[in-house]
Subunit: 188 residues, 2 copies
């Protein structure tokens, strides 16, 4: 039931926003009582925190697995991180959109906790890029930190528009983006 409450909330928060969704809206969809909700969560805010925490912790765990593979070059690590983020849209697109839009509805302490994990994710991308620059895999004419923001920008923005069931598959979109980032779009 806890999973169902979370799933239903993500759909409602995505559609109507966190503020406009009441606990009553959530439990009504599942034909349960508010008592059921309060058995699992102390408040709507705590539920939102759980959605945020699940989402970002899952991505960070999978990113850490990629980074720890010492057989991969920095280029290969970057490709895998881009694939992770784009292909995840298919499975967790709604969670991601709620994550990006509703952060400010968390309490200050919770925002700080989530931002810490987000920063860690971004720092890992920066480190991969910087390591690639240091090792001569990537050009040293661009700042590693700014490039990392660019990579995260392309992938994060995709949650706003990409339809994984459309005529471009997530695998294909990931390929387009890592080729664009690695080789650029000029016909050279």
């Amino acid at each position: 039931m806890k999973e169902k409450l979370i799933e239903q909330s993500i759909l409602l928060f995505e559609k109507q926003g966190f503020n406009a969704t009441s606990i009553q809206d959530i439990v009504k969809k599942l034909n349960v009582t508010k008592g059921t909700f309060y058995y699992y969560f102390t408040s709507k805010e705590q539920l939102l925190m759980e959605i945020h925490d699940d989402y970002i912790t899952n991505l960070l765990d999978r990113q850490l697995k990629i980074i720890s593979r010492s057989s991969l070059s920095q280029k290969e690590k970057l490709i895998e991180i881009i694939r992770l983020l784009i292909i995840d849209i298919q499975d967790h697109g709604s969670s991601a959109r709620v994550f990006f839009r509703e952060l400010r509805h968390l309490s200050e302490g919770n925002v700080a906790a989530i931002k810490k994990v987000r920063r860690e994710f971004l720092e890992n991308v920066k480190n991969v890029v910087q390591e690639g620059i240091n090792q001569g895999e990537f050009t040293n004419t661009l700042r590693g930190d700014m490039v990392a923001f660019g990579v995260v920008g392309i992938t994060n923005w995709s949650y706003n528009w990409f339809n994984p069931d459309g005529d471009v598959t997530p695998e294909e979109l990931a390929r387009i983006y890592y080729q664009m980032i690695l080789h650029g779009i000029l016909n050279e």
Copy 2:
């Protein structure tokens, strides 16, 4: 006074969100009455619409000026569009953040009107990229429409994190991003 009301609202909407900001909050900051507000706007929603409309129409006008310069190659047009978006953060960063976050608080008709202008902006980027592919300036191994979303993703995301008063200037960030998009980051 109208301009002051708009400016103050943008700051408050950015800080506390549209929902949590009352007309009373806005007029109190300027030491005027609600009557003053209603002299210029019929509602808080109409004011938000004006913020959105000013923001996107201004960007579209400037984009159209770039596109209509027939002496520019598609590569040069793309560079100018990236510069337009990044350098605009310095002047209109708050408007942009309100624009991205608060769209859903507009009425359906207003959302449709704004989305139409956004789509036009995006279509223009797609056309520049596709024209560049057709003319052999850009590689034909990537889909023009997906590349356009990537370009817009990098630049739009910058509004979330870029501090134009930090140690990277807007001009420098624009250069990093158009070089990354045109040439890629590989050390080739």
